[in-house]
Symmetry: C2
Subunit: 422 residues, 2 copies
């Protein structure tokens, strides 16, 4: 195998014809494989089925207050569980409903309507506000910004997190930059964990907006695939140390620990921030579903059990990740037409084709029955400026399906790349 760019015309043509033939055969198979979203598989969901039994009519005891109104910040026992996951104090945490995305959205809509704790005016009263978006990133974050006309400024992800020189320069000079998205551990889709230096610089940097907020979506906080996972520095502590205690909102949920549709979410921040948020949420609701919080508390009992539970997830996920990486290596090897990350956790493998190929690859794969995340999805406004990024989500299909889908993907990449070079 040599780099395609070095290949002579006839070798390239031969490779192209082979790929075309393989593609045509596969199309006959009428495949229907979906690697579009980071959804846990049935096998993973089965790991948590006992959770459904942890609160029932027999074992509810005299816990009737849990069924009634109130406790807007979540039950204390759930705070104890999440405080270890997020490494904060119980007074720095608020437990919500089934989706941390919902809390993020609501914090932004409330910031627009009312402002955050240190705002002089609601964000929505300002002419134009902006968020920094490390790219590639999580499409649903960007959708929130787009829906509310928050201008998105892309900043490239480097090997250890967002390009901090760029971030620092932007926030120092532009008062309209009010926030920044981050998936700091096993970033979506690159699988990058922010280095200590990046965390420190985020906590310390000077921001022209006094009410600048980092939305720290720690979605994959315990989603390790190896025994020696990278350690993410605690940004709330760093923010406190540097005199910016109210800068960060940290999020986590059990969506990819227990059930995506029926998990429990949490936000952590400085005590002042949490008190402020609690007051805002009290306008919105009388309280979250406390029964589901209790289910989770009883199912896990403690943090060690959460980690043990995640090892079982890893046992299911790791072979799929390995399969993707092995097949990519085997089929694309040193052709020099694609690079990919080798994440130590999370839900995705991010692949970059040659510039200008991703959309066509994704479209061809779809034609062959393999649905991938839409082209550009990982970028603000759905536009990948280099049209090269493909997010691979291997969790939901079976191992066999993953293998098949990646083989198809490789064929499509070769087809599009050779086409481009010929």
């Amino acid at each position: 195998m040599s780099e395609l760019k070095q290949m002579d015309y006839s070798s390239l043509q031969h490779l192209h014809d082979q790929a075309k033939k393989a593609f045509d055969i596969i199309k006959q198979e009428n495949l229907s494989l979906n690697m579009a979203r980071g959804k846990p598989s049935v096998e993973q969901l089965e790991l948590s089925l006992e959770l459904l039994n942890s609160v029932n009519s027999e074992n509810i005891g005299d816990n009737f207050s849990i069924l009634n109104y109130g406790v807007v910040d979540g039950i204390p026992e759930a705070k104890v569980l999440f405080k270890e996951i997020l490494e904060v104090d119980t007074e720095e945490i608020l437990i919500g409903g089934n989706a941390s995305l919902n809390i993020m959205h609501d914090l932004i809509s409330k910031a627009l309507l009312k402002g955050v704790i240190d705002s002089e005016a609601p964000w929505g009263k300002e002419e134009n506000i902006k968020f920094i978006c490390p790219v590639p990133g999580y499409d649903r974050h960007f959708t929130i910004c787009e829906a509310y006309d928050i201008e998105m400024i892309s900043v490239d992800m480097l090997e250890d997190g967002p390009d901090m020189d760029k971030v620092e320069e932007l926030v120092r000079n532009d008062a309209s930059i009010k926030g920044m998205w981050s998936v700091p551990k096993y970033s979506n889709p690159d699988g990058i964990t922010y280095s200590d230096e990046v965390v420190e610089r985020l906590a310390k940097m000077e921001t022209k907006a006094k009410d600048f907020k980092i939305f720290w979506d720690n979605a994959y906080v315990v989603h390790d695939l190896t025994d020696n996972p990278p350690r993410l520095k605690n940004i709330l502590e760093a923010c406190k140390k540097h005199g910016n205690p109210d800068r960060v909102f940290m999020f986590a949920s059990t969506s990819k620990i227990t059930f995506p549709g029926a998990g429990v979410s949490a936000v952590a921040a400085s005590k002042d921030n949490i008190d402020f948020i609690k007051e805002q949420i009290s306008v919105q609701t009388i309280g979250p579903d406390k029964v589901n919080q209790l289910r989770h508390v009883r199912f896990f009992k403690n943090y060690d059990n959460v980690l043990a539970h995640m090892k079982k997830h890893a046992e299911i996920m790791k072979p799929k990740f390995d399969a993707v990486l092995n097949i990519l290596q085997e089929k694309l090897g040193s052709y020099g037409i694609a690079t990919w990350a080798e994440p130590k956790g999370g839900y995705f493998i991010s692949l970059n084709t040659m510039d200008g190929c991703a959309a066509e690859v994704i479209s061809l794969a779809k034609e062959a029955g393999v649905t991938l995340t839409g082209a550009g999805a990982a970028f603000p406004y759905g536009k990948d400026p280099r049209d090269r990024n493909i997010r691979i989500a291997p969790s939901f299909p079976t191992l066999e399906e993953v293998e098949k889908a990646i083989e198809v993907l490789c064929i499509c990449i070769i087809l599009v790349s050779t086409n481009k070079l010929l």
Copy 2:
């Protein structure tokens, strides 16, 4: 018993001294009774305990998609259940999380940020917007308006709903009136059910604001206390008939059917409205807790069972309502110092003292260990202009506690009233 206003000085003084003596004795009892909020009692919560078992690891079957992401508008089976409760089609309904208040809040915050289906601009972009608030009403509705600087215009509740002459005049002439709150069946706190004529007039009236919306909080839709409950006219149908299909958002929840903290909520509206809302909610969340929706569907199976279940609630609630009414009649009788409603359902009994007495009565009752809803709570900005309304919530305490609490309340009313007249 004669009217206090007709009593001579010494009879009044005697009554006052008796009440004072009774009050002092009660204070020694160190009571701690709470009639402040419309919370179901433990006995009521017990009616639904089996719901906790209706989805478990044994009976989940192959229903794994219910555990995973998606279905932002709720599971079809839940729509089938709620469509009968709200008398709409399944395409006119969206099933949410544990709190309909949350949906109401979110619809308003999205209206402010993005507008409703027929808005030319987001409500928040207009100089000043206003909501009509029938009074007395539900404090949490008013809190949402207050939080977002929506000016509240009080309109008195009459015997069959809000004063429609006033409502029609207001909305016809003022384009800044964008919405109106309503608890149309067993209104909070008066227990009034809107007459057919009121519903018709609301559906038909001319509004200067083209994007005027009625928030139809049908919280007590199946919460009858009698065998011949009043029938509320279907406002969505009426709106359609009069060419205003998008005027109304209807809400219901199982908060006071199953569990206040862990129920299921729903919003119903025209299909166009629901499609519009669904798109807005898709920005906010990937989906509601579908497992809890399935629990409810399996527990109730059908609408008839919901009604049968509500009869059991009524069996628990009715004696408490009767106790309140009997004691009020017995102790205050024809003194002419208080009037009260005799609701046929819902959660509250609304009592009016003489003008200028409510706050003092509530404060005295508190001193004697009986917590009532705060004075003015049922009015915008917490201000009862005549300082006379007291909301009695008899559901949560036991029957004995209710009896005791109302006796205390009556003593406080006599004490404050005689003081005022002496």
